[in-house]
């Protein structure tokens, strides 16, 4: 014993170094093992998602059900924060153990994911087993399609929707806006609400959020970027100063000037004001539906996204996010990711998903599921966004924007919107954003080797 302690004293550095190396080595070994096989011997499918609130709850339920329904794969959900963060995380972790097998990424990241070459197109799995993709709404597929190849599977699909407080409208004896309203229809309701409530209730709010701006353009069949919104090539210029862009922003600014408009700063504040009867109309994702229906019940009014006066509605793009399968994992893991995808988009689960979250069921058969039928009967308003989705015929301007770095364009558009709401000149604000983004686009295309100097 004494000898041992002497030995230890002399060579303690060696011992401790060996111990450290052993611990690190075991840790790394264990970690890399855990990436492929869970303790149960199933294939581990790591799934990155960005769902919060009711969406996250339901998603976790689905994952648990999927894991119980079979014994081959184990899906492991990992919450990643916001849509914006996840793009950079994918770009930076691809090819490492930290990257996911399947991930959720938003509509406007489609182009970047496509160009990265980091993913396996869903089309590969669809073709392999002749999966009937026609069951999935075509407009939803449009956002994730390039050259007739489905790149990713739309999952949490939403559209911008116009919500109004039917209870307040009734109280002040105002006729609700029609289905498929024009800007003037909305102006009438908003003004009447503001005036008849003695300015106690604000008529309308349009968050300074580029998605809403993009949908104003979509609904009037106006391009956001050239080359058909990037669907038929690499966009080199954007267009923020077209007739609809000017018309829609002038419309909002007129509301600001009249006083019936209020900028609440965030979606959350907007929703809080709407639910507490301080705001009559706002436009946001159809995914707000579940919370609003719970809060207002029969007093909730829903209609289509507005269009400019005298213009036929072209329909709007879907928003939300799609599921992408990474190509840096083994075939077995990829297959597991595909099985999980199929599970999520089956008619029953899509119906439950719509019921729980307000995201639109993308599977056409979901409408026949009892769970949706019942809730539509109870609150017919719930069906409006789904009707809006079906009423649109897919074309280039309502299938999203296929351009890299739309995130940056959005922040410029948002800045312009904020300036416009603060009273600055509509054309000048939009033109400044357009010029800035054209420069970004030029250097981005150059840096990626898509254009020559």
């Amino acid at each position: 014993m004494k000898k041992l302690s002497q030995l230890f004293k002399r060579y303690w550095q060696l011992f401790s170094a060996a111990a450290v190396i052993l611990v690190i080595g075991l840790g790394v070994f264990g970690y890399s093992k855990s990436q492929v096989h869970a303790a149960s011997g199933r294939t581990r499918v790591v799934f990155w998602h960005e769902m919060k609130g009711p969406g996250q709850k339901k998603l976790v339920t689905f994952i648990n059900e999927f894991n119980k329904s079979q014994s081959k794969y184990e899906v492991v959900p990992q919450f990643q924060g916001g849509y914006n963060d996840v793009i950079q995380k994918i770009m930076n972790t691809h090819g490492t153990d930290a990257s996911p097998a399947i991930f959720q990424s938003m509509d406007i990241s489609t182009s970047q994911m496509y160009h990265s070459g980091f993913t396996v197109p869903m089309q590969k799995f669809i073709d392999k087993e002749n999966y009937d993709i026609s069951k999935i709404a075509s407009v939803a597929r449009g956002v994730a399609t390039r050259n007739n190849t489905l790149l990713a599977m739309p999952f949490n699909t939403s559209q911008t929707t116009l919500y109004y407080n039917a209870g307040l409208l009734k109280k002040y004896k105002i006729t609700p806006p029609p289905v498929n309203p024009t800007y003037s229809d909305i102006t009438r309701v908003s003004k009447q609400l503001y005036d008849r409530s003695n300015h106690k209730v604000k008529g309308i709010s349009v968050e300074a959020y580029s998605w809403l701006f993009e949908q104003f353009l979509s609904n009037a069949n106006e391009e956001f970027a050239n080359k058909n919104d990037g669907h038929s090539g690499i966009s080199t210029k954007v267009n923020f100063t077209g007739p609809t862009a000017i018309k829609s922003m002038t419309w909002v600014q007129d509301r600001v000037k009249y006083g019936d408009f209020m900028n609440f700063g965030s979606h959350k504040n907007e929703m809080a004001a709407f639910l507490s009867n301080k705001l009559g109309i706002y436009m946001q994702t159809s995914a707000d539906m579940s919370v609003l229906a719970k809060g207002l019940g029969k007093n909730l009014g829903v209609t289509y996204y507005p269009r400019p006066d005298g213009v036929k509605a072209n329909g709007i793009s879907v928003g939300g996010a799609s599921l992408w399968i990474s190509n840096d994992k083994s075939e077995a893991v990829q297959q597991g990711a595909w099985e999980f995808t199929k599970f999520l988009i089956n008619p029953k689960n899509q119906a439950r998903w719509e019921k729980a979250t307000g995201y639109l069921a993308i599977n056409k058969d979901s409408a026949n599921e009892p769970i949706l039928k019942q809730s539509y009967e109870k609150l017919p308003m719930l069906k409006v966004p789904s009707d809006q989705l079906k009423s649109a015929k897919a074309n280039y301007t309502n299938s999203g924007i296929f351009v890299d770095g739309v995130v940056a364009a959005r922040s410029l558009v948002q800045n312009a919107m904020q300036q416009i709401y603060a009273g600055k000149d509509v054309y000048k604000s939009l033109k400044a954003a357009e010029d800035s983004y054209n420069k970004v686009l030029e250097s981005n295309n150059l840096a990626n080797g898509w254009t020559k100097k």
Binding site: M91, S116, M262, G265, V407, A408, N415, Q418, N448
Partner: protein, 318 residues
């Protein structure tokens, strides 16, 4: 270095040390000079700093001279063009101005209110220790928590601040969506957050001022205002200098509050330099531009710190 070397060298000579080792070290000492030890002891830290500080710094500088692609790889060399475009861009100039306003207001108000609270707490009153504890309370509140409850207070339709404003007969204020008010709101929140620590520093400094000075002043008939300007202030000037430096630097680094409260908006009014770097790199994926902004920010902070030490240090009465 000079202080630490002899003690480390003496260590093996302790009673428990092995003779062999001592002999080795001694022979070492004869052969090599102190330089060997310098490298031996500095080596690990230099290695770590190289990997985690110097390399990223040089890489940032390198990236700022290129255009970067989707993955952040430098692809097209453009020299200093990133710098010229940035310094010409109106929104960057606006960010510079906003950062200036923010940093200066935060430092000034933190010092004023911190000193005020410390002076109040320095009175000998019944129950004052309760207030002393209350005043330091913000030290225990994290950035995210304080952002969340200030957000509640700033909420345009439900927040308490607008209830007060309306009660006084004014129109409700859109705190976080009007550029001027958003800056005010962010500054107020930051000052509030810094207040606990600043109070503690000033309070400590005030307590350390010898009472005999005040007694002597009172005897010679000096007013309390005169005492404040001519005794208190000079005596606590080192603390004041310290507070000025740390609030200024932490002002430049302010990120959490901005991210949670305004996200840099409205109309970039609170898009401070640090936040801009984050946004350009991790949201817009434009690493070249973010690197350029980081380099400029580094230069600005270096200059300000240098000036501060040169100018302020002279006026500090140690």
């Amino acid at each position: 270095m000079i202080e630490s070397l002899p003690s480390t060298k003496q260590q093996p000579k302790g009673p428990e040390a092995n003779n062999e080792v001592t002999a080795k070290v001694k022979s070492f000492e004869l052969k090599k000079n102190d330089k060997y030890y310098a490298w031996l002891f500095l080596g690990p830290s230099i290695l770590l700093l190289t990997v985690f500080v110097f390399f990223p710094m040089l890489r940032t500088l390198y990236l700022s001279l290129f255009l970067t692609d989707t993955f952040g790889n430098p692809t097209v060399f453009i020299g200093l063009k990133n710098y010229t475009t940035l310094l010409k861009s109106a929104s960057y100039i606006a960010s510079l101005k906003a950062t200036g306003t923010y940093v200066i207001s935060v430092s000034v108000f933190t010092i004023i209110f911190g000193l005020l609270l410390a002076a109040l707490a320095n009175q000998k009153l019944r129950g004052i220790s309760f207030f002393r504890n209350i005043f330091t309370a913000t030290m225990g509140v994290s950035v995210s928590v304080s952002a969340v409850f200030w957000l509640f207070m700033f909420n345009p339709s439900l927040g308490i601040l607008n209830k007060v404003v309306v009660a006084f007969g004014f129109h409700p204020i859109n705190w976080l969506t009007t550029p001027g008010w958003a800056m005010t709101a962010v500054i107020a929140t930051t000052v509030w957050m810094h207040l606990g620590f600043t109070f503690l520093l000033f309070f400590g400094a005030l307590q350390a001022v010898p009472k005999s000075l005040y007694d002597a002043a009172s005897v010679s008939g000096a007013t309390s205002r005169y005492q404040f300007w001519h005794i208190t202030l000079p005596m606590i000037s080192p603390t004041m200098f310290f507070v000025a430096v740390i609030t200024l630097i932490s002002g430049f680094k302010s990120f959490g509050l901005i991210d949670l409260m305004t996200g840099g908006g409205p109309t970039n009014a609170t898009n401070l330099l640090v936040y801009r770097v984050y946004k350009d790199a991790f949201m817009n994926g434009n690493y070249a531009q973010a690197s350029t902004e980081a380099i400029i920010l580094t230069i600005i902070i270096a200059i300000i710190t240098f000036v501060q030490f040169k100018l302020l240090a002279k006026r500090v009465n140690y």
